[in-house]
C-alpha cells in the first residue's frame, strides 16, 4: 500500500469524537448564519466550496477510506443532474419545492441502483485498473446521455426554477448546497466512525489480509461504493438546479472527477475534514485569488498538485498534525 494515504489508525481511536461533533455543530451554525452578512458573491463562493467539499467527502468515503480511487465519479454527478433535470421537466403542476425534493430523491435513488448494479464487477478490479474502469464508465454514461435524444444531453435541458418567491437564488442554493455537503459529511462520519470504517481502512491497508481476517470485504466495499455514488448524485442534482441549464459537457467533466481527488489530496486523504479544507483552499485559490488571472491558471493548478504530492503527501491536515505533534513534544 502507498504511503500517501496511510493514516495512523490509532489517531482515529484516541481522537475525541465528542469534540469533533461540537466543532461540526458550531461550524454548521456559523455557516447557516453567515448569509446575514455575506455578499451575494461570497455566497456563490460558499456554494462552490460546499459543492467541492460535498463531492470530495463523498469521493473520500471510497477513495480515502477504502483506497479505491475512482477517476470517474463525475458519472454519478452527471446521472444525478440529468435525472433531476428530466424529472423536474415532467412535473408541472406541483409546487417548486416539491419538484426539487422529488428530483433529489429520484436522482439519489437512480444512482444508488445503478451503482449497486455495477458495484460487484467493478470492485473486483484493483488500483489503477479500478481507476480506469471508472473513467471509462463516466465516458460511457456521458456518451449515452449525449447520443440518445431522449436524454436531451446534446441540446441541453433548462432546469425549472425552484427558488421560493421572494428568496434570492444564491441564498437558496447556498443553503441547499450547504445541506447537501452537510449530509455528505454526516453520512460519511457515521459510516466510518464505527465498524465499517475499520473494515474499509483494513481493506485499504491490505485487502488480502483483511479477507483472511474474516472481514466481508466485498460487502463493505460495495456499501462504500453505493453510498459514495448516492452522495455524489445528491450534490450533482442540487448543482443542476443551481446552474439552471445543463448539457452533457457541463456535468460530465473529467475535471470534476479530478477535483474531488485533488481536494482530498490537498486537505488530507483518508479523513473527513481534510477534503473540506481542500475544497476551501482550492476554491478560494481559483475563484478568489486567481479570479482575475487571464492566463496560466491551468498551469498553476497543475504545479500546485505536483508540489503538494511531493512536499505534503498527507495534505494540509498532515502538516497541521505534524506541527501539533512537534509542539506537544
Amino acid at each position: 500500500m502507498t504511503g500517501l494515504d496511510r493514516l495512523d489508525l490509532r489517531s482515529k481511536i484516541t481522537g475525541n469524537i465528542g469534540a469533533w461533533i461540537a466543532v461540526g455543530v458550531i461550524a454548521l451554525v456559523v455557516m447557516a448564519a453567515a448569509p446575514a452578512i455575506l455578499t451575494p458573491f461570497q455566497m456563490r463562493v460558499g456554494m462552490s466550496i460546499f459543492f467541492s467539499a460535498g463531492l470530495a467527502v463523498a469521493w473520500g468515503l471510497l477513495g480515502g477510506y477504502a483506497g479505491y480511487y475512482s477517476f470517474g465519479h463525475t458519472a454519478f454527478l452527471g446521472i444525478g443532474a440529468f435525472t433531476g433535470a428530466l424529472l423536474s421537466n415532467y412535473l408541472h403542476a406541483v409546487s417548486p419545492l416539491v419538484v426539487f425534493g422529488l428530483s433529489i430523491l429520484a436522482a439519489v435513488a437512480v444512482c444508488g441502483v445503478l451503482a449497486a448494479l455495477i458495484a460487484y464487477p467493478v470492485l473486483r478490479l484493483r488500483h489503477s485498473y479500478f481507476a480506469i474502469v471508472m473513467l471509462g464508465i463516466a465516458y460511457v454514461a456521458a456518451e449515452v446521455i449525449n447520443n440518445f435524444d431522449w436524454f436531451q444531453g446534446s441540446i441541453g435541458i433548462v432546469v425549472p426554477q425552484v427558488v421560493p418567491r421572494g428568496m434570492r437564488p444564491e441564498m437558496f442554493f447556498y443553503y441547499a448546497l450547504l445541506a447537501a455537503a452537510a449530509i455528505c459529511v454526516v453520512v460519511t462520519a457515521l459510516l466510518v466512525s464505527g465498524r465499517v470504517g475499520y473494515a474499509l481502512m483494513t481493506i485499504r491497508e491490505d485487502e488480502d489480509t483483511a479477507k483472511m481476517l474474516g472481514i466481508a470485504t466485498e460487502r463493505y466495499k460495495i456499501l462504500a461504493f453505493v453510498v459514495s455514488a448516492m452522495l455524489t448524485s445528491l450534490v450533482g442534482v442540487v448543482y443542476a438546479f443551481s446552474i439552471g441549464f445543463i448539457t452533457t459537457g457541463a456535468v460530465f467533466r473529467t475535471d470534476f472527477s479530478l477535483n474531488m481527488i485533488v481536494c482530498s489530496l490537498i486537505g488530507g486523504i483518508g479523513t473527513i475534514v481534510g477534503p473540506v479544507f481542500g475544497a476551501i483552499i482550492l476554491t478560494v485559490l481559483t475563484q478568489v485569488v486567481l479570479a482575475d488571472a487571464l492566463s496560466f491558471r491551468l498551469a498553476t493548478t497543475g504545479a500546485l498538485i505536483v508540489i503538494i504530492v511531493l512536499l505534503a503527501p498527507s495534505g494540509v491536515l498532515g502538516l497541521v498534525r505534524g506541527a501539533a505533534a512537534r509542539i506537544r513534544q
Binding site: R44, S48, G156, F245, T247, G249
Partner: protein
Amino acid sequence: MSIRMNRRTLLASAAGGVLALPFTSRGRAVAQAAKTVVLGGSIPLTGAAAETGMNVFAGYKTLVKFINEELKGFDVGGERVTFELNMIDDASEAQRATTLIQRQIDEGIEFFLGSFSSQIVLPTAAITERAGKVMVQTGGGSDQIFSQGFQSVFGMYPRASRSVYPAVDAFLSMDPKPQSAVVIYTNDPFSRLQADGVTAYIKEQGMNLLETYSLPAEVTDVSGVLASIRELKPDVALCVTHDQNSQLITAQMAATNTNVKGLFQVLGPATENYRKSLGNKADDIFAVTSWSEDMKYGDDIVGTAKDFANYYRKVETRPLVFHVVNGAQCIMIYMRAMQAAGSLEPMAVRDAIKGLDIMTFGGPIQFMPEGDGHPVKMGLKIAQVQKGELKVVFPKEVAAASAIWPMTPWDAR
C-alpha cells in the same frame, strides 16, 4: 445619475456633443470631467472555447480602445463617457462564470458582455437579468436563451435553429439549381440546433435531403461518411461542424476525391489555419461570415468596414475574423444605446437597445423582441473561399464576388 452639473459643464458637454457628431472629433482634447462606465462579463480564454473567446475579446478591446483613445469618449446626457473593460476568464466553465459574474454585480457593474457557448451564457444571463442588469453577447445562439422571457439579454445572431438558412438560400440561387443535399453535424448543443433547423428548412424548400450524419465531438476518420456520400452523389453537402472537424472532412474529401457541386461548412473556412493548411483544396468552399472588410458597411463613428479593419490591424495581432467584429459591435451597441437613451441607467439603456435600428461598420443592428438578432438584417452571410480569401457571395446586395459554381473537382486542382 446623481452627479450635479453646473451650467458651464452642461454647455461645454453639449458643445462637445455637437462636435462629436461628425467624425471630426478624433484627437480632440476633452476637458470635461469624464465618467467611466465599466463593462463586465466573462469570456473563455482557456478551456474548450478559448480560441473563439480570444477573438471576441480582441474585438471588445479594439472598440473600447477606439472609443477611449480616438474619440476620447462620447457624450451621454451632457456627460463625457469612456469605457473600461473588466473581463474575467471563465475557463469555459459554468460554475466559475456564475460566481465571478456575481462578484461583478456586487461590485456595481451594470453592463455586461457575453461569454462564449450557451452552457455559460444562459446561466450567467439568468443572473444579470435577475439583478436588473443588461447583457449584450455574441457567444450564445441556442434557442433556449431566447425562450426564457429575458428582457435584458441580447444576442448578436439569429437563434441557432434559423442561423444556417442563408446557406440553403444561397445554394438555391445557384444555376443550375441543386436538387439534393446531405447534412453532416457535430452532436453538441449549438450545432445540433443549427442542424435540426437547417434539415427542416431544406425539406421545406423542396430540396431532396438524402441523409444526415451525426458526428461526435472528437472525430479521427470520416471515411465511412464520405463513402456514403460518394454513393448517394448529393449535389451539395452542408457541414454544421467545428473548425477541427470541418478541416478533417475537407482534407479527407480531397484525399478520397469525394466530389459534390457545393460544399458548405459553418465553421472552419473562416480561420486562417484552415485556409493555410488546406491550400488550394480550401478554394470554392462556402462558409458563413457575418462580415468581410470589403463589405459596403459603415457608420460615422468608426467609418467603413475597411476603416475598422485597418484600425484593428494597428492595435491587435490576432487574425481578423468575424467573431472579432461581432465582439466590437457589442461595444458599439452599448455606445449607441447610451447616446440614444441619454442616460446610463441600465433599464433606459436596455430600452434603447430594443429600439435600435442602425447601420454600423459591422452591418445593421436590430434585435427581435426575444433578444436574438434580426434574421435578415443580422443574419449570417454566405462567403466562399476564392484563391485563399474569403469573399462574400450571398446575399447579392452585399456580395463582393460572384460564386464559383459548381466547385472545381479535387483532382483538377
